[in-house]
């Protein structure tokens, strides 16, 4: 026996013991379930053996899809992948019985098996099954997804979404996209252009050139349109872009004003935004179909960054009417606003969670910036990050993860996208081809 094999055997034995202890705490009837709310300290070990290629030519897809499924799961911070060279069992056929003892031996609590085939028309078909190893039973039912070969990553995200849903009981977020601002060049000559990508940074596509400044894109609820602010006319104006056709038009253009900070209502029929007239910036709403506008705030303060509650009944926004930037909630048609932020420092860029239970925000205090979350009445404020400059949170479709912009300081300062879960764990840099800012996370596709 080689030294390496010996090491693995000892490790496997140790894991069998550890695994056995965990099994005893699980009743056989209780499904394998990871409770995200409890704050995951120890990620759940999962095994994702290479999917089986069922047709010639499917080998690369089988390898790549299973790799992305594992990356999706591990990227949540909730799961740990058991390396493939530790696997004892080899899955050579999708229909073969699972050798549970082999997976228990390496302490795989969950197992994902799959198979990939291709047809002559360039379509890729993936099927998968998820297993609760220690209960020796399948989690849910096997499923199958098909796409053109260019869409193979989406197939992987679909599979990972299903596995995530079955293991956590939560709605997933892997098959989603992010629209953001791609940045190149030094701080005093920054070139910005709108771009869209998969949630994990793959498949970047540019939506505008960098001839004029673009800021803060926001997805429509169905992901088909993007609102953003552009200086194309020389003045900040809200544009609306059709993602499929990559065509945009100016949505709001009152002469002598600036408009920015747009965001859709949950039903997509209205847009709330800021308009600056003279020194005053107020929040307005526009009916997208008719173009009719309505003013929602009227103090002389700066009022901006409006965001609807998911039921469309309320709007959270920031105002410096008290003398510094703070968060307020008002009815969706305007009216009395209640201040909800009372901690030290300044609060801006509030975004209502898709679950409706929390508000994410940027906090600025004593020269540091934080991304935080609070209940919608301002209670239970929790700061998730701290840096020289963190800002602009956006929620994953399931309300469990937040993506934001982090800019480093100094002459070489550059911005990048990061994600963090709402317990403050699993801070990760999102892979982008260049600098990046102002992410907006779209819906689950």
């Amino acid at each position: 026996m080689t030294k390496r094999a010996m090491t693995w055997l000892m490790l496997a034995l140790a894991l069998v013991f550890a695994g056995g202890m965990q099994v005893s705490s699980l009743s056989a009837q209780e499904p394998l379930r990871l409770e995200i709310d409890r704050g995951i300290v120890e990620p759940m070990p999962v095994a994702v053996p290479a999917f089986v290629a069922e047709t010639p030519g499917a080998e690369q897809f089988a390898e790549d899809i299973s790799r992305v499924v594992a990356e999706d799961l591990v990227g949540t911070g909730l799961f740990r992948e058991i390396p493939r060279d530790a696997h004892i069992s080899r899955v050579s056929a999708f229909a073969s019985p699972v050798q549970f003892a082999d997976w228990k031996a390496i302490n795989a609590q969950a197992l994902v098996t799959g198979a990939v085939s291709t047809d002559g028309a360039g379509r890729v078909v993936v099927k998968f099954r998820a297993w609760d190893v220690f209960a020796e039973r399948e989690l849910g039912e096997g499923m199958q997804f098909a796409a053109t070969s260019e869409g193979w990553r989406r197939l992987a995200h679909k599979v990972a979404d299903q596995v995530y849903r079955r293991l956590t009981g939560e709605s997933p977020y892997f098959d989603s996209r992010v629209v953001f601002v791609s940045e190149v060049g030094p701080k005093d000559d920054r070139q910005k252009r709108l771009a869209i990508m998969d949630y994990d940074g793959a498949n970047v596509q540019y939506l505008t050139d960098s001839a004029s400044i673009v800021l803060a894109p926001r997805f429509s609820p169905n992901g088909n349109q993007v609102l953003y602010t552009s200086y194309q006319t020389g003045f900040p104006r809200i544009h609306i872009l059709d993602v499929g056709a990559v065509q945009s038009r100016i949505l709001q253009a009152n002469e002598g004003t600036m408009s920015f900070a747009p965001r859709f209502s949950p039903d997509g029929s209205r847009v709330v935004y800021s308009m600056t007239q003279g020194s005053n910036t107020d929040i307005w709403a526009m009916d997208v179909a008719s173009g009719a506008t309505r003013r929602l705030t009227s103090t002389p303060a700066i009022e901006t960054a409006p965001s609807f509650s998911p039921d469309g009944s309320q709007i959270v926004f920031e105002s410096d009417r008290s003398g510094s930037q703070q968060l307020y909630v008002m009815p969706a048609m305007g009216g009395d606003a209640q201040r909800i932020s009372f901690g030290e420092g300044r609060y801006g860029t509030p975004v209502w969670s898709p679950r409706g239970d929390r508000i994410a925000f940027t906090k600025q205090n004593q020269g540091r910036f934080h991304i935080g979350v609070m209940n919608t009445n301002g209670s239970e404020e929790r700061l998730l990050t701290a840096s020289f400059l963190d800002e602009g949170p956006t929620w994953a479709p399931n309300g469990r993860v937040i993506m934001f912009t982090r800019e480093t300081q100094g002459a070489q300062g550059a911005s990048a996208l990061y994600s963090v879960d709402i317990s403050g764990r699993n801070l990760r840099r999102v892979r982008t081809p260049a600098g990046a800012s102002d992410p907006s996370w779209g819906p689950l596709q």
């Binding site: 005093d188 800021l215 003045f235 002469e255 900070a261 700066i302 860029t349």
Partner: protein, 178 residues
């Protein structure tokens, strides 16, 4: 303090030129527009039209009059130095009545993007209102804010921030688009 040397330079330039062109400190400016370029004025015949020594040039406006005012952290109120600069701008715009101006407001990087856009607008608007109060027609002026998108200085200390918190009066010929 940043502006005193510029003011001194301006006085010096006017003294050397010895002409009756825009004089932000007193009388004698009215009706003298364009004299600096006139061939009938021997004193200024060496001045290259459009150069910084040509009082009707935008280069003169930018460098001798001073095209920008600076602001304190989070503030949009004009300092005494700022008002002195703007008095000079108003005088220049009065004399050079063919020009329009776009006032560009800026913020430093310590702030969220959208708030800084609105803050830059407050600063630019403060400049615009001041120029209007000094007799410049509002129809010749526009303002725009770049928030923290266009810093001049790139360090992350107050030395740079203080120069980035600015409103810049950009002179343009003809009508303003927007």
């Amino acid at each position: 303090m940043q502006h005193l040397p510029k003011a001194l330079m301006l006085v010096a330039a006017l003294a050397v030129a010895g002409c009756t062109n825009p004089n932000r400190f007193g009388a004698g400016a009215d009706g003298a527009g364009g004299a600096g370029m006139g061939a009938n004025n021997g004193v200024t015949s060496g001045v290259l039209p459009g150069s910084v020594d040509d009082p009707t040039s935008t280069a003169y406006f930018n460098q001798r009059v001073g095209d920008r005012v600076l602001f304190a952290v989070d503030q949009s109120s004009l300092s005494a130095e700022g008002r002195a600069i703007l008095d000079g701008q108003a005088q220049w715009l009065t004399t050079n009545s063919d020009y329009m101006a776009v006032i560009e407001g800026h913020a430093d990087e310590q702030g969220t993007r959208e708030y800084n856009l609105a803050l830059g607008a407050r600063r630019a608007n403060a400049v615009m209102e001041y120029l209007v109060s000094r007799g410049i027609s509002q129809s010749r002026l526009k303002f725009v804010s770049y928030g923290k998108e266009r810093p001049l200085e790139v360090c992350s200390t107050e030395a740079c921030y203080s120069k980035n918190r600015r409103a810049v009066t950009v002179i343009a010929a003809g009508s303003l688009m927007g």
